[in-house]
Symmetry: C2
Subunit: 458 residues, 2 copies
């Protein structure tokens, strides 16, 4: 293949973004504000101060500054593993026989195995800057916990990770990896917190849940001196940090005069999707481009495609501020057969707003179809994709096949958010044909919706 | 950090090497030839034809062409995951407080997790070109088996991997990864071959060995129509393919006018080390440079530092040609406590010759020291290193600390051959302080030496 466009496009360090891209600043209709659950008034910086670091709170509430400068120290952190490659999927295109051009931004070349490190670094840096000595967080599938473990090792901070108990048992290697970076792993629920003890008292054999782990992490952060809590998705400051993905992709494409027609990302809480699409969506809002944007979620946790646009809690213990988002209800639990992440009940407020306003499409995929796509991808492009990222692969292949039918040569960009090294149990179940697709019934969803608080939705 | 030299240096596709670098062509004293074990005469292409592909045999026997053109199709394969980054270890340097400049060539960004893919691709391509439909190989730690699985998926070839039985049981995820690429995994010893049956008859509960798996793979290749055997290290054609590592590193360093003073690689069979040092060693032989070269091996399998320079078999069943190498004897078995690869009894003939001629130094390290270095590295540079690669890290840190003592600003280059995602059991045992160092006694070594054939050693 002798093509003008290289298979892998790397930016030079000089070309890497110097600012994050705050999409909300350019949106005509802003997402609704977070509300204090007691007063139902918009949250203030003071409300969030016991839980989060100062800079993070400022970023969370900032809807006016489009370009937020990345501190030199964080640019230095990014240089430890970025730029990530933008890859032309020549081999996949050939296998599909499509006239489409497919590109993917691959965030899995760092040890955390995903894009999560892009926000873990900044959050650890800001904690250090605030004079903190430790952080708490939760992890389910483990990417975020690994990313925070790496960032805390880099900035010499203590880290407590509440890991969903069943995950810590099923993924001992994820646990070992975080411990190798020096993190303190606590299977959740635990007896280190009141919320953990309460849940254990009710069910001593529970495998735990992400919602419970969040509650434990927040409780410990609030109770501990010089300690705060960090979250890896859902919130707008996390999406802001992740815009290095989309900006790097756009700079690389611009160098070759390529304008994507379709931009695709997988969606759980929304950090990878939001980070990928931000600068492209900005161009669309400004009328400079007219791409389609597609969020792809698991059929087992369909917050975009079957959820409600409502104010809801971020955790199952219902202790967080209320966020207007696409939600299945904080009480919703995806089927235990669902492999990998993307199992959060709600979707970031900015993405939810874009979806409601018709700027962002969404579709849901069942997991055996997703793994079919993953295997086709890994056999042609060579990369073992994370189950999460494979949702985007599935949609990209579908769009490329559509191009084959219509003969149209579209430019498709998708986010390959991570690798699947720690998901081989899921691949084994796919290979052995023991994987099945559990799509929630309407009755299942109604149970989740019942947990959405009955407040005026504006 | 505002430095002229970027943290990560990527070549453009145009800058990637177009030829492999055949170091033997430039050596004044060549390594001794392989011998036919029956006649004790140098092997001919015809001797090797039942086992290996044509191009591979030609490369194995070629001692005259310095630059061996890389076919376009293989350059195309390399572009699927190369160039690999050359990384300036700014963060490690800072942590050590050393005046040394440390660079490492990182081969772990592809899904096989190591440099092994650099030879797997060419070997699969040549098999396809010869009209073959399947290949056989063996794997222990699993990097080579994964790399061949990827290459065979890419070129649509069937692959049978004989995986050391104890490894296939201890590393089910490695197995699942290879199967996801479509490979047929057979725990070795098996009843699919005469050599396997023979070993099982003697000990039905054996966990197997690499030597036994090699024997099974060769037997199946020879017995099967349109099938050949592929090997991932030790032989000179494998080292030839691996010279993309050293050449990319040299091109990147040359761009910035950097000349390494010390070049370090871990050494098992020698493919990573040989590939890294080849073009630099060529310069040394031609008097253009005067770097030191250091091979680092595990103290539990010390073929360089405690082995003999002798003609020996490549497998424990003693069916291969005789290779003049640094060897512990084909009957030598490293302690089962030894984590990771680098457990082969012998060392590539070219490297053995360079060592004997004083051009290459060697040292051995115990594994707890190696894991100490790995943890220091991962906490500063962010990358989870393979246990194998961590031997090179250990030596690089020692040299950097020596520079701190002497105040000399040396330039150190080492090979980071791979990642440790599938080695978390070893990291767990290190973290739990249950890892121990088993250094073979002289008596242990004597047992191995007894298996070296009693032939005239020239």
């Amino acid at each position: 293949m002798s093509n003008k466009i290289p298979t892998r496009i790397y930016l030079s360090e000089d070309e890497m973004p110097k600012s994050w891209y705050n999409l909300r600043a350019i949106m005509k209709d802003k997402p609704d504000p977070m509300l204090h659950p007691g007063t139902l008034q918009p949250v203030t910086a003071a409300d969030l101060a016991p839980v989060f670091c100062n800079a993070v709170i400022e970023q969370e509430l900032d809807e006016s500054n489009l370009l937020v400068p990345i501190p030199d120290e964080i640019q230095d952190f990014y240089r430890a593993y970025r730029p990530s490659p933008l890859i032309r999927a020549y081999y996949l295109e050939k296998a599909l026989g499509t006239p489409a051009e497919i590109y993917y931004k691959f965030e899995g070349t760092n040890t955390s195995g995903s894009h999560k490190l892009n926000s873990a670094g900044p959050q650890a840096f800001y904690a250090k800057k605030d004079g903190l000595t430790s952080l708490t967080t939760e992890t389910g599938a483990g990417q975020w916990g690994t990313a925070m473990s790496m960032a805390c090792a880099f900035y010499d901070l203590k880290l407590i990770v509440y890991m969903v108990k069943i995950s810590s048992e099923q993924k001992p290697y994820r646990k070992a990896l975080m411990e190798s970076y020096g993190a303190n792993l606590i299977p959740s629920p635990s007896n280190t917190t009141e919320s953990g003890k309460k849940i254990l008292a009710g069910d001593p054999n529970t495998g735990g849940s992400l919602g419970c782990a969040i509650s434990e992490a927040i409780e410990t952060a609030v109770k501990t001196d010089k300690c705060r809590y960090v979250l890896g998705s859902v919130l707008n400051h996390v999406l802001l940090h992740q815009t290095v993905i989309g900006q790097e992709a756009k700079i690389a494409l611009d160098k070759f005069g390529i304008k994507p027609d379709i931009i695709i990302g997988c969606a759980g809480g929304g950090s990878n999707l939001g980070g990928l699409i931000a600068p492209f969506m900005g161009d669309k809002i400004e009328g400079k481009a007219n791409a389609r944007f597609i969020a792809v979620e698991p059929a087992s946790c369909p917050s975009f495609t079957r959820g409600r646009y409502a104010y809801d809690f971020g955790d199952t213990a219902q202790t967080t501020p209320l966020i207007r988002m696409m939600t299945l209800g904080s009480g919703y639990m995806p089927s235990p057969n669902h492999a990998g992440g993307l199992r959060y009940h709600g979707m970031n407020s900015t993405l939810a707003k874009l979806f409601k306003d018709g700027l962002l499409e969404a579709k849901a995929e069942v997991q055996t179809d997703v793994f079919d796509a993953a295997i086709q991808f890994m056999k042609t492009e060579g990369i073992l994709p994370a189950p999460e990222s494979s949702h985007a692969i599935k949609a990209a292949i579908d769009e490329a096949n559509e191009c084959k039918k219509t003969g149209k040569k579209k430019v498709i960009l998708f986010g390959l958010s991570g690798t699947g090294y720690f998901d081989m149990t899921a691949y084994t179940s796919y290979n052995n044909k023991t994987m099945n697709d559990q799509v929630p019934s309407d009755a299942d969803l109604e149970k989740g919706f019942a947990s959405i608080p009955a407040i005026p939705q504006g």
